[in-house]
Symmetry: C2
Subunit: 168 residues, 2 copies
């Protein structure tokens, strides 16, 4: 197995793969007669195809601990998919750019803070949910509708995250 180092998630580092939903540096303004601050448009849903709808679901993910094997990746050709933690616990996202063979290139792993969400772009390779510390729930905004919205690829040689300490 190939070792995969973990990085800290930033908007810039994640920009080829999707959007980071966090309050830091976000556009915000006061609404509701001064009682609410709106951190606006942290992400945009993007769906297409037959009867495409944007839906809200809750994912409850089992907890992982290192070493974490990354055997496969998936992507959703017809829609973006966002995850926002409901239990304020950190988690891991693993993403990859698309290669000329239409398979994921070298993956990148990010440690996501408990107050950050992610929105994978439509057709962006990613690993399924990797919760940390305990069983955790996430609000997921993704696509419902006709057509095949899931593609999976298994690596010939899997990767492994040996440590959740962020690489320097």
């Amino acid at each position: 197995m190939k070792e995969l180092k973990i990085q800290l998630l930033t908007r810039e580092a994640f920009s080829p793969f999707g959007e980071v939903m966090e309050l830091e540096s976000a556009e915000h303004f006061t609404i509701n007669n001064g009682t609410t601050e709106r951190y606006h448009k942290l992400a945009t849903a993007d769906v297409e195809g037959e009867d495409a709808k944007v839906i809200m679901s809750v994912f409850e993910g089992q907890s992982f601990s290192a070493p974490i094997e990354i055997k496969m990746m998936e992507r959703h050709p017809l829609g973006s998919q966002s995850f926002m933690p409901l239990d304020r616990r950190p988690y891991v996202v693993v993403v990859a750019e698309n290669g000329s063979d239409n398979k994921p290139m070298e993956p990148q792993a990010f440690l996501v803070k408990a107050n950050q969400g992610v929105n994978y772009f439509k057709n962006s390779w990613h690993h399924p949910l990797i919760s940390l510390e305990d069983v955790s729930q996430f609000l997921v905004v993704d696509r419902d509708g006709g057509g095949d919205n899931l593609e999976e690829v298994y690596f010939d040689t899997p990767y492994v995250i040996d440590s959740l300490l962020v690489a320097k």
Copy 2:
């Protein structure tokens, strides 16, 4: 002021106004090779009009305590709007059916549990966010795009929630 009693939120009681996002009685199935449970399609975003997009924002609401005055209501003619608590604290929603004068009828107030979200239907009258206990954040899924998506009506005689104890 007229007194407004508070009710416990259920899917059935809320059904004229929107959807309740909760795991109880929700369709669910296992995905991600057994590591994730998907509580599927708890709500659907519904947007229309010029350049309509579904967007994700975070609302940070100040905390209210009884007595809570309900002076006005608002609605969004071009899109649904959902709220999911990120801090696992209860909150209050106040909704009303539309009258023949296109103003809100007698409002209804619901105490929402910390693990419940709500999705107001497009054009459904509701009061702005009423957080309880402390400043609280919510993931909001609503509409971005052109056109006027906000209508507000002030009551001639305001309502007041004197107690957060659910009415028998």
